[in-house]
Amino acid sequence: MSAREAYLRWRYRLFPDHVVGEILSKNWIDNAIPFMFLAIAVAVFSLIIPNFLTIGSLGTMGELLAEYLFVAIGMTLVLKAGGIDLSVGSVFALCNFCALYLVNALGMPLIVVIPAILALGGLVGAINGFLVGFLRLRAFLTTLVTLILVRAIVELLSLNFGVNASYSETPVPQWDYLGAAQILGMPLSLVVAAVVALLTHVLMTRMRFGWHLSAVGGSRRSAYNIGLPVKWIVAQTYILSGVFTAAGALFYASRLGSIGGSVGVGLEIVILTAAVLGGNSLGGGRGSVAKAIIGTVIVVMVTNALVRMGLRTGASDLVLGLILLVAVAIDVKWMKNRLKVLNRAYVSPTYFALPACPPTAEGSGSPYEVNNKLATAQPIGKGELDGPEDIILDEDDNLYCGSRHGDVIRFFAPDYKKHEVYVHIGGHPLGMAFNQDRELVVCVGGMGLYKVTKDRKPVKLSDETNRSLFSIIDDSRMRLADDLDIAPDGRIFFSEATIRYEIHDWVLDALESRGNGRIICYDPRDGSSRTILPKLQFPNGITMAGDGESFLFAETWGCRISRYWFNGPRKGQTEVVIPDLPGYPDNINKASDGTFWCAILGMRSPTFDLAQRMPQFRRRMVYRVASDEWMYPNMNSGCVFKFDLDGKVLDVLWDRDGIKHPSITSIREHKGRLFLGGLFNDRIGVYDIPGADPEWTGIRHYWGGKTGE
């Protein structure tokens, strides 16, 4: 191995590239850019402004932050449903004035003032909501008009009642408490804002209303088509925005008691900047409370810093405006290119060197030497099947196989001419086995482990396992359950080929060549599933070794067959049985003489083997070349071979010209005949095995004679 290859091997072993793509595929990655911006801002300001991060300074910022936060959360709700609320500035001013008037001029108690002001905010929001939601006016123009109208009302009110509102004859201690109280060193307003933020977060992520918001913002038409009350949902967001703005105004009023004409002027720009800077999309559908918080913190910090740096008011607005512009630009570009970036980063091939490929050519004397024995195979269901990956026969010799349409199909013995849909499960039924109760247990690609009861009802056994400790993508859900076998004690061991791709993207897993798969044990006694062997290279076929303590499993891209002990003195150990197959193994099953059959679904080609050792080459290929033109493992040719536990190859069956069975994914011996399945084929093949036990059946071998016999 050259130095370069040694370097590649270690580089890919030590630096897990796939993590980058997995992180990018997370939803919270939208928050990463604003968060970085925040970190940079904190660093810069604390460097250039002395005492920027002292307690006193944080306290002042905290009060402002809390008031803005209320408004920003309201804005987030509106943005998420695809709208915009520009009226927040004057609603804020209106609520501020009215609160002061109620308290100072009318001397009302807080128990009346607070609900009244919240209701007032909600009322203005309801007007917006009615106009935008129900009359379907443009949100931008409508709320702009509300902004101006409400501002005019505030002007009129302060002209007529300003004097009364500005000053109270008798002090109102509760009111002052609202503005000045501290809890654990934090302003009361900030504590309340935090609680509201938490509740809104729960509302948006865990409750129906939040999902409805996403639906409406993501695609209004689709939301309407699935029956959501779109108009009402949109209207609600404006009402909530009004209420939240009023809450912010209440704290502001109690803190400053100011009825000056500048209250709330320009607030809409500040809040919009905060919301968009945090990563809430102006286009709707994407947004969260966390984003609103990050954005608001940045904005408050920047304004605060600008003030302390001595910039004039106008300059501060200028800076905020510029930040808004940049944030909007990033928002647009990010939304447009996000999936592109993700697609580029997700596929991450790794270094993998296969052992030398054993020869297969005719006349080579190899145990895998090409022959044409399968030319005599007779077809079952030719042209009627679509993707029978695995096949199994029951005690009455009826034959079961899966199909791409999500059915399990039953062919009736003895001639297998007639067939019926035994059960429709969905997904793509792959590996099959009978359990002790003679129920069919099926691995369903895309769904998990299922069983079919005697009265033909599919029952889910398992579709999740324990999440591994450092996984970034959620690996508890099963993506591609592939093949299974059942231990004498009833435990079901099944393989999950890959945790990174869905079934239709299997080739990407081949191009990655990483150990993305695992073997899971389902225990019917307590219904639990545990991953027992992680990081396997597309684990595929599984079959019991016959000693009650171990099973054999095939790793397709690894071109090897291994044995794992789940019981007995060697429990937990793995041993490679055949390390260097000439092709990609699929299912393994029992042969009547105590040995094993293994299907090879495709053959290794020298160019693909070479590419496996050059991860960067494969990565570039995935990005540059159209997917139909990618180099694939050669799956237009396969074979079946027989081996024993020592790894000795005993027999091999080829379809030399690849006409009947270009790729073979499974084999099942039954009464002296070998049944052949193929994931991409349109038939099942039957091959008469010379000299095989004509009475042997798998189901009797596993579970004994018929029940009752």
Binding site: G383, D386, V507, G602, M603, S605, P606, T607, F608, L610, A611, M614, F617, R620, M621, Y623, R624, V625, A626, S627, D628, E629, W630, M631, Y632, P633, N634, M635, N636, S637, G658, I659, K660, P662, S663, F680, N681, D682, R683
Partner: protein
């Protein structure tokens, strides 16, 4: 310097020189099954170059020169000392043949028995195509200085560009070089006005070379690797055989230096990711995604490293009509064609058959 940066940028983006975009086969080049449906004239092992001799059609197959008789029969006219790489005939009965061993021989006519192993100072390595300009003048294409005709894949995959075109005065034996530094000239046609048209295979284009040495591109960006040319009639049209299609994967590998180097060093050329003359016949050959057999069938539009393509071009190099054998056919690797009175004869070198299609 900017060149280095722009190349690096191209490599990063997959644009410019790193782009593997291929010209589409549409318009007159739209795929059909005319070669697959063509009438079989003779089943011959690796038929290669067709020529119209004095008394019938001649073609080369390995080291044998065959004459095409009626009723699918072929007669061996001559067996050369090594594979016949190219062939040209002139009506008065002169036949020129280029041999893989690096020799050019003239049979019949006024110059019978003349042989060349050098043109100028250049030893003949890879004669690929011949054409008579007149009784006395032979145009010769030499594909490469470094590789024999049988090693054409190596020349392509190592970015060979050492081909040349020569004019030989048969009377005196003097030869002049008309163009050099070509990337595998693989076909030549002499026109009435003294110009010659040459197909430059690895650069997927046709060149027109005038007697004064001026080189002009007739057509660029062909969707495959052009091989030999044949005159279509009196109106200046000509037939072009395209022996293999370009594919994205091959174009990509041609830009991947390390992979290509290791592939060339360690793998049998038969199993390379490279254009091929024939339909895949071993599972050791590379397979591409779209070629995965679904329900036992290979789709005709599957990506394929080999196809059968013959195109008729007008005098300006615009394609007028085309004949195809698609990915699910086997009549691939058409290296030469010859219009006759009752159709277009084509040699499918990869399909081991000579066929005649109606035109």
């Amino acid at each position: 310097m900017s060149n280095v940066f722009s190349r690096m940028f191209d490599r990063f983006r997959g644009s410019g020189s790193a782009a593997i975009t291929l010209p589409p086969m549409d318009g007159a080049m739209r795929p059909n099954t005319r070669i697959d449906e063509a009438e079989e004239v003779a089943a011959v092992m690796a038929p290669d170059n067709l020529a119209e001799g004095a008394d019938g059609i001649l073609l080369s197959s390995g080291a044998r020169l065959l004459s095409l008789g009626p009723s699918k029969k072929t007669d061996t006219v001559w067996t050369a000392s090594s594979d016949i790489a190219c062939l040209a005939a002139h009506p008065p009965g002169t036949l020129a043949a280029g041999l893989d061993e690096g020799r050019l021989v003239i049979r019949g006519g006024a110059h019978d028995g003349r042989a060349f192993t050098k043109l100028g100072d250049l030893p003949i390595m890879c004669p690929t195509a011949l054409a008579f300009a007149d009784d006395n003048t032979l145009i010769v294409c030499l594909g490469s200085r470094d590789h024999r005709m049988s090693d054409w894949k190596v020349d392509l995959m190592t970015h060979g560009a050492s081909g040349s075109v020569w004019k030989i005065d048969l009377a005196s034996g003097a030869s002049t070089c008309m163009a050099q530094g070509l990337a595998f000239p693989y076909g030549v046609l002499a026109t009435e006005n003294g110009d010659i048209v040459v197909s430059e295979s690895w650069r997927h284009r046709l060149l027109r070379i005038s007697p004064d040495g001026r080189v002009e591109v007739v057509i660029d960006e062909l969707p495959g690797y052009p091989a030999r040319l044949a005159r279509a009639g009196e109106d200046g049209d000509f037939w072009l055989s395209i022996f293999a299609p370009r594919t994205q994967l091959v174009e990509f590998v041609l830009r991947e230096d390390e992979y290509r180097r290791r592939m060339v060093e360690t793998i049998d050329p038969e199993y390379w990711i490279a254009p091929s003359l024939h339909h895949p016949d071993s599972y050791l050959e590379p397979m591409q995604g779209g070629s995965l057999k679904q329900l036992g069938e290979l789709k005709p539009w599957a990506p394929s490293r080999s196809l059968g393509i013959v195109v008729r071009l007008d005098g300006n190099g615009h394609s007028v009509e085309s004949l195809h054998s698609r990915a699910n056919g086997v009549r691939h690797g058409v290296t030469s064609c010859l219009p006759t009175g009752d159709g277009l004869l084509m040699t499918c070198k990869g399909g081991d058959v000579v066929v005649r299609a109606e035109i």
